[in-house]
């Protein structure tokens, strides 16, 4: 149901939305409603009444204990279902790396994002790389590998419309992937507190049609690889 409010425009966004919905139906719609209903019903049903004494139930006998052991097994079963689904989604987003078309370097620092695009030759660390600050330009339908770095403290690269979040760790290059499936312009957030300017670290992701993307590359002269 997330997609009703936050567009789902990466190839795996639907997987993340699916696991959210699955948990919602199992845990909220079924368990939560059932347990609260039983709970509130018991409170109303067994209010103190004159002349009615409470029952003496130890809860240790088998026919009493089944009232908690059966729900217990059902919780276990639901946990297994959720587990399998969650790990499957996790595997797709974080563990598996499909063949990628292009690589983009994302560099976080206090308090800005900078991006190194591969440029016209489609390869990173060549003279025609395009460096930008705060704007990440992508071509719809292409699968990107990202290399996420930080210059100072821990930041977190978060793109809600992609359903992607990954911390940037100084001293490490964290790799991952995404594939935008629709054009548009959306927020990039820093999701890990990174100092006084944490709230002043917005970025924009611009997903373009192949034609528009080629035009954008052409309009930018190479600005040199790396620093």
């Amino acid at each position: 149901m997330i997609e009703k409010w936050v567009p789902a425009i990466s190839s795996y966004a639907a997987n993340v939305d699916f696991i959210f919905d699955l948990i919602f139906y199992i845990v909220i719609v079924f368990w939560f409603v059932l347990v609260q209903a039983v709970f509130l019903w018991l409170v109303v049903r067994y209010r103190k009444r004159d002349g009615v004494r409470a029952q003496y139930i130890s809860g240790e006998l088998a026919h009493e204990k089944k009232w908690i052991s059966y729900p217990h097994y059902l919780v276990l079963l639901c946990d297994v279902v959720i587990l399998v689904a969650a790990i499957r989604v996790w595997y797709i987003v974080k563990q598996d790396m499909p063949p990628t078309d292009e690589t983009v370097r994302i560099v976080a620092q206090q308090w800005a994002w900078s991006f190194v695009h591969a440029g016209a030759d489609g390869r990173l660390d060549t003279p025609d790389d395009i460096r930008t600050v705060d704007d990440l330009h992508l071509q719809v339908g292409k699968t990107y590998e990202f290399k996420l770095e930080s210059r100072d403290v821990i930041h977190s690269f978060s793109v809600p419309v992609f359903r992607l979040k990954q911390d940037a760790i100084p001293g490490r290059v964290v790799t991952g992937w995404f594939k935008p499936i629709a054009t548009g312009e959306h927020d990039i957030q820093c999701a890990e507190i990174c100092g006084f300017g944490h709230g002043l670290m917005p970025g924009r992701i611009v997903i373009e049609t192949p034609e528009a993307h080629v035009a954008w590359i052409a309009s930018h002269g190479p600005s040199g690889a790396g620093e």
Binding site: V6, V27, V43, K48, E60, L83, K94, I193
Partner: protein, 556 residues
């Protein structure tokens, strides 16, 4: 041993006392005072979030630096200086000796030292607000390198003083914890077997063991961080061979068990109250004890679910997803047991019972929303959003606030020998209950819609500044102010009842446990003659008996 005590000066009696009951009050009143500070901080930053750039009454303009300082210290205060002292230290101190039939803790002077170090830690925390650069501002989780280097945090001195305060606070609770465990094991009344110990004592002792076993790595981590800050070591500095992720492991190895450290006492308080006010034997006593022990053990195996997207090996996330979902089983079972206890009862909705039932209702919301976050696939999106914030407030608020109010309203007659006002108590309950839900239900939604945490002004993010999102943030803030307003009802009720409340007899709730067999308030030494125990704590409504309760100390 009830020996004759010479009259004592006020200072000796209340400030330097070794009496566990007085030490309880010291912890409780200090915790309540700090809750006011923590609550005020939340009011200030929520105002800024709902009405960015506003001149907040009582504070003024909230700068980004102020904002980060306020959220950091709100979290730290509420967990380390409110939940811990009130739930563990205050109730542990008061209830353990009185419920197991002892005249005091086994190490009364260590107990006194524990509070004094705790008070010192609170003073040091306050000092951190006023040093150069201001208070610590890198979130209560204190992730390096932000927190380990002044050039990044710009609050170098404040961060160091803050770490000292946290370390002192841990020392205080380690000293208190030694006392709790030793007392519960060695000082029980004759005849009290393990299965005759009231659940709340079990819970506080299990929580204490979990605390003592988990805090070591964090104390070590705090010292390492302090060395990084002040001596130029590089434990967490990646440029010189250190590793910032190491801190996260040390922190959450303590941080997650800590959730259960405060949860267990609150569930114990709930167990005592629901049995008394439904006149029922606790359903499956041993199951409750076993689920608490299982929860305690499992709580050591889930910490990395806070770090799914933090740059750990993605394969490791799968292991922690499994352990995290497994912990839902004992916790769910404990809730089932409590609900089953209500079956066939004779329920009176007195104020303490309202709080106990309110705990079950709200904690269930906290529990079920935890599944979304424990499931790694969903956490990729929800991590570090307001969904996380709403989830843990739905665990910590029932624990630290609702649980504490349940305990205070229930044991107030015993503690102070007077009753609180029931009408005001109910007004306070409903105001707090509805207010709390009205704050955090909208924040679940803003979280799912993409609000990320610790942002002082969302207007930099076009997708997060829709009228609907702004409206929900404002609604949450107004609900907070209303809820905080209702706390004045409690303060008024509490303070006036201390002086003018209706006098309480020994056992106003007709309960079974030992603390209700002595005077209200109990004298120094607790009983003229220490009690003997003949049965378990929950023998309510036993068939063929005239009374529907059967105190533990009454011979058959």
């Amino acid at each position: 041993m009830a020996v004759h005590h010479a009259p004592e000066s006020w200072v000796r009696k209340y400030l330097l006392s070794t009496d566990h009951k007085i030490i309880c009050f010291q912890y409780m009143f200090t915790g309540m005072a700090l809750a006011i500070v923590g609550g005020f901080f939340s009011y200030v930053f929520r105002m800024q979030m709902a009405f960015p750039g506003m001149n907040v009454p009582g504070w003024g303009l909230v700068t980004p630096a102020d904002y980060n300082m306020l959220v950091t210290n709100h979290g730290a205060i509420m967990i380390f200086w409110v939940a811990m002292p009130v739930l563990i230290a205050a109730f542990g101190n008061y209830l353990i000796p009185l419920m197991i039939g002892a005249d005091d803790m086994v190490f009364p002077k260590i107990n006194r030292l524990s509070y004094q170090i705790f008070l010192l830690s609170a003073v040091v925390l306050f000092v951190s607000f006023f040093v150069d650069g201001g208070g610590s501002a890198g979130a209560w989780t204190m992730y390096p390198p932000l927190m380990s280097k002044d050039e990044y945090s710009l609050t170098g001195t404040g961060s160091s003083v803050f770490l000292v305060a946290i370390a002192l606070e841990f020392v205080a609770f380690l000293l208190g914890g030694i006392n709790f465990v030793t007392t519960a094991m060695n000082a029980r009344a004759p005849g009290m077997r393990y299965q005759d110990i009231p659940i709340v004592v079990w819970m506080i002792v299990i929580a204490t063991v979990v605390f003592m076993a988990s805090v070591g790595p964090l104390v070590a981590g705090a010292i390492m961080m302090l060395f990084d800050q002040q001596l130029g070591t590089a434990f967490f500095d990646p440029n010189r061979g250190g590793d910032p992720i190491l801190w996260q492991h040390l922190f959450w190895f303590f941080g997650h068990p800590e959730v259960y450290v405060v949860l267990l006492p609150a569930t114990g308080i709930t167990a005592e109250i629901i049995t008394v006010f439904s006149r029922k034997k606790l359903f499956a006593y041993m199951t409750v004890v076993n689920t608490a022990i299982a929860t305690g053990i499992l709580s050591f195996l889930v910490w990395a679910h806070h770090q799914f997207v933090a740059g750990i090996d993605p394969r490791m996330a799968n292991i922690f997803t499994v352990t995290t979902l497994i912990i839902s089983i004992p916790v769910a079972e404990m809730m089932f047991v409590y609900i089953a206890t209500l079956y066939g009862g004779s329920i009176t909705l007195a104020t303490p019972m309202l709080w106990a039932l309110g705990f079950i209702f709200t904690f269930l919301i906290g529990g079920v929303t935890g599944i979304f976050l424990g499931a790694s696939g969903a956490d990729i999106y929800l991590h570090d959003t307001y969904f996380v914030l709403a989830h843990f407030h739905y665990t910590f608020f029932p624990i630290a606030i609702i649980g504490a109010f349940a305990g205070i309203t229930f044991w107030f007659p015993k503690m102070f020998g007077r009753h609180m006002n029931e009408t005001l108590g109910k007004i306070h309950f409903w105001g707090t209950f509805f207010g709390f839900n009205a704050i955090f239900i909208p924040l679940f939604i803003t979280g799912v819609l993409g609000d990320h945490r610790r942002i002082f002004d969302y207007s930099n993010f076009p997708e997060l500044t829709t009228p609907m999102m702004d409206g929900m943030r404002q609604f949450a803030t107004i609900s907070l102010i209303v809820m905080l307003g209702f706390q004045l009802v409690f303060l008024y009720n509490f303070l006036t009842s201390l002086v003018w409340g209706r006098k309480a007899e020994k056992n106003p709730w007709l309960a079974n446990t030992l603390e209700w067999t002595t005077d209200s308030p109990p004298p120094h030494g607790n009983w003229p003659e220490l009690p003997t125990v003949y049965r378990g704590p929950y023998e309510y409504s036993v068939p063929d008996r005239k009374d529907d309760f059967w105190p533990q100390n009454v011979p058959s």
